[in-house]
Symmetry: C2
Amino acid sequence: MIFGLFSNMAVRSQRLAVALLFIFSGVLSFPLGQETKPTPNMLNVHLVPHTHDDVGWLKTVDQYFYGDRNDIQHAGVQYILDSVVDQLLKNPDRRFIYVETAFFYRWWKQQSSSMQQTVKKLVNEGRLEFVNGGWCMSDEATTHYSAVIDQMTMGLRFLNETFGPCGRPRVAWHIDPFGHAREHASMFAQMGYDGFFFGRLDYQDRARRRRDKEQELLWRASDSLTPPMADLFTGILPNGYNPPEGFCWDQSCDDPPIRDDPDLEDYNVDDVVRRFLAIANSQAIVYKTDHIIMTMGSDFQYENANLWYKNLDKLIHYVNALQANGSKVNVLYSTPSCYLQELHRANLTWALKMDDFFPYADDAHDFWTGYFTSRPALKRYERISNSNLQVTCNQLEVLSGPASRKGPFGEGDKKAMAVAQHHDAVSGTEKQHVANDYARRLAHGWQRCQVLVSNSLAALSGSSAERMYCDNLNISVCPLTESTLSVSVFQVVPVSAATREVRRNRGFAVNELVFQVQAPPLGFTTYSVSLLQDGPPPASTQHRTPTAIQNKNLCVHLPQFLRVTFDPDTGLLSSLSNLETKQTIKLTQNFYWLVYNASDGNNLQSDQPSGAYIFRPNSSTPFLISKTAKTESIQTSGVQEVRQWFAPWVSQVVRLYTDSKALELEWTVGPVPIDDDLGKEVITRLDTSIKTSQYFYTDSNGREMLQRKTDFRPTWNLRQSEPIAGNYYPINSRAFIKDDVDQLTVVTDRSQGGGSIHNGSLEIMLHRRLLYDDVRGVGEPLNETSNIFPKGLVVRGRLLLSLDRPPSAADAHRPLAQEVVLQPLLTFTDGDLHPNTQLEFSGLQAALPPAVHLLTLTQWDKDSVLLRLEHQFQSWESKLNSQPVTVNLQKLFSTLEVLGVSELNLSANQWKDEMTRFHWTPMTGTGHLNLFIRFYYISS
Amino acid sequence: MIFGLFSNMAVRSQRLAVALLFIFSGVLSFPLGQETKPTPNMLNVHLVPHTHDDVGWLKTVDQYFYGDRNDIQHAGVQYILDSVVDQLLKNPDRRFIYVETAFFYRWWKQQSSSMQQTVKKLVNEGRLEFVNGGWCMSDEATTHYSAVIDQMTMGLRFLNETFGPCGRPRVAWHIDPFGHAREHASMFAQMGYDGFFFGRLDYQDRARRRRDKEQELLWRASDSLTPPMADLFTGILPNGYNPPEGFCWDQSCDDPPIRDDPDLEDYNVDDVVRRFLAIANSQAIVYKTDHIIMTMGSDFQYENANLWYKNLDKLIHYVNALQANGSKVNVLYSTPSCYLQELHRANLTWALKMDDFFPYADDAHDFWTGYFTSRPALKRYERISNSNLQVTCNQLEVLSGPASRKGPFGEGDKKAMAVAQHHDAVSGTEKQHVANDYARRLAHGWQRCQVLVSNSLAALSGSSAERMYCDNLNISVCPLTESTLSVSVFQVVPVSAATREVRRNRGFAVNELVFQVQAPPLGFTTYSVSLLQDGPPPASTQHRTPTAIQNKNLCVHLPQFLRVTFDPDTGLLSSLSNLETKQTIKLTQNFYWLVYNASDGNNLQSDQPSGAYIFRPNSSTPFLISKTAKTESIQTSGVQEVRQWFAPWVSQVVRLYTDSKALELEWTVGPVPIDDDLGKEVITRLDTSIKTSQYFYTDSNGREMLQRKTDFRPTWNLRQSEPIAGNYYPINSRAFIKDDVDQLTVVTDRSQGGGSIHNGSLEIMLHRRLLYDDVRGVGEPLNETSNIFPKGLVVRGRLLLSLDRPPSAADAHRPLAQEVVLQPLLTFTDGDLHPNTQLEFSGLQAALPPAVHLLTLTQWDKDSVLLRLEHQFQSWESKLNSQPVTVNLQKLFSTLEVLGVSELNLSANQWKDEMTRFHWTPMTGTGHLNLFIRFYYISS
């Protein structure tokens, strides 16, 4: 029985079973020296030396590793690790934490075995401690939970296999991401972390928490999992992740070093100690215990760790020396887990939080809500890569065994996806050349994945015919123009047979072939296509009405499921009906742009422009791109389309597939014109008759849904200063608005930002092209021009609309969203297949129950596979599907014999029955009543 | 008998004699590894890892040491030495050189004894090698040889006492000074260096030398010492002192690191190796041997030595790996001495050079001749501090023994003088706050020196009356206003009794008391002064003529020595006569300014402005400040003065002391007005009837005289592009012009720049106030404003003019210049001295012969003193005094008994009889005939 949302299995296949993991055996010991031990009845200041190493941002991940392109930013991770290890060896009191396994792995590979032994010793002694430990520090607003789990697993697995239990991070550490998702906290809890620290939160939220000493709290990160399963102790760091002012001793800083030679000028020990004590005491006032933490490091610091440690050694020495004169401040080298342990020992109660930390604003007009949409093409490419590389390829490798692993397939695929989760990767907040690098890595992964798919399909089908791939079908481009070909469709959604179109172009897509296919779950099927003659397809299959004049009575409907009407005067959508449930809503949809205009008089309050991170329109009223759309409609047996042209750079296809219950809006936006010298942020807005009363709902990392309310935050009295940007939230896979009778759910094909600025309305930002940098470091306007796209980027995507009764809406949008995330992979073969070819295959003995999603099926090592099954419904959202489900693993797979199963934590680096997380007690009656009311409401 | 110019003695006093120095025992061994050995029949590329650590420039010396004020410049020497030692230990092949003992000494003091042992091991194994090794890398254009010898001795002594013979630098290393003085080369030769390397020389000179492969040469640095006494092998480094382009791997550089992991992007080993071989081969073409040197480092580099060494290790490995494929390039870690050894082994002949490397230009309009005068007040303060701190104090300490060393006197004095010799200290090319720091250190030294002087005079005179000092007598300010006081005059010139005035002010100098004093050589005498009544001194001693109208027949003369006439219309000097030799010249003198005007049309050729380093006037015609001077004359029994006012900011006193053979011009310039937004460089020009035919003469570091010729260089065909700046040379102590019958010598009281732009003319730049930075790094205009001098600096100084017959002119100017350099020290005592006080004392039994100068007399350790006697005449300049002289050391001193004498090299770190310098063979017949002609002419 799967009792929670996640259940993560190590399934032994028919080969010999071996233990996967080292066994964790209790708390790490900290052999602290005399000067660096926490002392009771004193204010203990935990100095945490650390570096924050972005896995790509202004430079590519490899440029960061090597220290290449230091003209862009001085940063070289290889040297950081060299230097830190050297310096740790010089004084056993010194501590360091390391976070990003993507970098550590690269470094480790290049070390001699004696250096590796040295590092193991440092780890075993707790002098070098891994925190977080995923491949990267993932973004929280634009990532999908499945890719996050994969990247965390990749990093933690390396640490586990390299260092054993002493290498297992105890603390999650998201010091830089720009807002924090509840689903991330839930995942961290299920990965066994004892606590979580971050640096960025809304400035009003921080002020309130400082006042109330609630910068450390207990985050209850799921409304479905039984506490404390998703409870995560959460600490907000005092200075972001920087050292206190005046105490940065990195080579990149200019703070005065400790000058303690009385023979030289400017002896400053007294001044330094005095300043430090003042800072420590003022920090202690806004935290609860007599332990405080100071993050002594920042971006790419410790390249020359001697500067830091030499001065920290002196600081500790001189501050603690005052204890002889009665000082009650004790400074020590520490780590987040050591600090956390002291907080736990304090045995206090902690404020409970049940919402999330979005949106993030660092000032009144500085909302970091632009990156929810920044680089929409990269965001889609990352999402589809997840499906292809992490899911399809991994599954096929398991299903077809060693035969799949011939040729240049491999590891690189997963690493490309892992680095893409970084908080300056899929977030879209990197420089253009770095975005190109992420995409290049993914494309390289696709190539390698395609080798594996070809191998696998050859093994499973018995045909070694060369398989080809059409990666550009989204723009109807495929190099295959032969008269006959075969199409194999590998279906990864394990629930039910899927329905999809396959299109085929000729030259530059004069015509498209659209037909419906069905593939078995976790399997493939094959279709043959022949071109009978060179002429166009029979005209009877098309009904073109290419001008706006013929809009009258334009109506698209499918007898059994949906009806869509259009306004004959404007060509816009006018209503949507669900024919099964007999519900109809008014629905108009149009496209708008928002603008930050540097010369606009509304900039008096702030000159913060929109940029890669920030969304800051001058005006609350978006500009309408066109009041009307030119339309044409096309109807075939499989699909009905109405094509809408709003402008030369904005168009849309409203599409209904015969057997689909969702309306597809395929939008195409770009190149966004900038000849008026105005950057533009393009949104589409759905205005409905639904009575929303300011509420709307967005998902968290594609998983649980959270309630949002315009101009409102659950945990403090919001002073709203940005009526649009301040009401935007991440939409990773879906958003909905509802009232008592109607729920309109919009499923997206990538992460986007959106909000409900007006009642009944839901808007989603689709594309951004900006002319200013937003002064958060990236140093480029988000213009997205390149050699390939000199006029700017054209982006195409899909929104899927589902209209349902609220109590059963999830039964529709849960599988719908999975189908969008996990799209089938098409392969093409030139000519007819050999008659003996097996044309269809399923890896499952039967489809899984609708509530259960096969999240992960991947080869773990020679003898075992990692299986993750997920209950994909929240506890309150479906009478039908929110119930516990039982799955018989023995009868699950068609080609694998299950010899044994061991349950692991979510990140597969600890046996589930050995998870011993700290227990934390929530405060009661803290007055955050609105919070509980809200959830009570949702659950009803 | 003193056979050369210098003779440097260790004189043991009456206490027990001990050996001073470790004995040098042969060539250092270089335990090179497999990859880093020179290989015959290959092009051997000597990579020399080094750092160039300015002893003050943009930051103070202590800021540089600690890495303070990194906002000004990132530089922290403590970390450099930490890091280099760490990195040397990681690979025995690695080498490093260190240069500036001022920094090394600070660092060494802070190290544990185990670290000190580690460093000694590295030094003994040749992995860490000291080069140059003085306290600093002294400036060559503005320093006086006596201070240079002292600072070199201080640094080399520390190395010798700390590391023994392995710590003795074999190579002099002046990679940064802005032009090179012949006297420096002579001193380095006499200090036992085997060779000398530098980085900066005139761009035309370098081009010629590259063409002719004469970037390595033999410098014959004295026309008086018998070769090879002052011969110094000299190498010009290929890239200044920087690494070749693209190969800088310091943290301060952006060149691509070697990316040799084929699993990561941008593997670049092939590209790096190809670029390196191209550079090595093109460098080999312009040098003579199959060994070339590359300086792998630069300003304050190696703070994180790992970056450099990690990449250098790889470079060596990958370049040498190509030898297996037939490559004939061998790269190795090396040092300048190792490289020099290979050059010596080559057994070639080398071009001979006998002039110097001034002036230095790095482009056609970029002559570094401004710093010869920059910061004239600091230059004077340094010079007078040398007299007070290095000479007076050291001598008194020896003469009065341990009694002198009570209270806070000490070491700091000498260090302040040593750092002031740095090439961005007395040169005037540092930032304002750093100039203030140098001055502050010197002032601190004065305070400590005064403690010692008081102690000594108390011991020698038997009176413990409190001694007071009037440091501001140059502006007639002294806080003593009592009616009776005693004046002690300590005389450091050891030749004959001196003549000087003493002045006493009342309040703000309404009146001055001027009287003549005499003091014995190396001793003191005492005068008592009483104020008889409160009224002014008798009017009869003054003859004031305060208006220009009364200029007629203004004539100043002293019956026995000199006559000066003034033009009655202009108030300017008109003639100078030597009454003894019965010679008269026409002599007019006036003040002018030159200007760099950014908006001047003459800037078409170059927009290089004048700045701290560069002198670049727009026009060749200086602006006359005033055609006429207002004058008044004053006459007393001791002195005759004519005071001239040229402008509110330019005045002069023309002064003749009764018994002086030199005419004193005491000029006062400043604050230089800038309200016209023009910076100004103020010169005084002496126009005479002497027929100079373009020739004139300047000293080298205050010692030997060099012939100069306008628009001419002895070793290449000059294309003159700056008619004034390109003809300026350093004047450290004197310059002269002459013809067959007349020689006019001008003795200066500090280092200044000057030239002879027109025949018969000699101009000297006195003061500079500039409004632009000259883009050579200092980043400030040389404006010299401060809180104390908000309107700019007033500078006062003296020129002493001596008119003589050329063959005997040196008999006058040699002692005259010594008297200016070594001025007597005055102390004041309030009230009458005790009757038993000894009022006069001399440390010498008799005055030394005029040719002999007591350069150094200083306590070396408890039992010995260091004595330097100097023959102060060039071999050709005086029939009377250029002859060898014999001095009887046994009978030299009145209070010291000489128990034994051991002769040392000039820097006192090696016994003279153990000096074994490399022998180098000069090329003959290389066609530099003009050079020999020139010297033949001088010698006649």
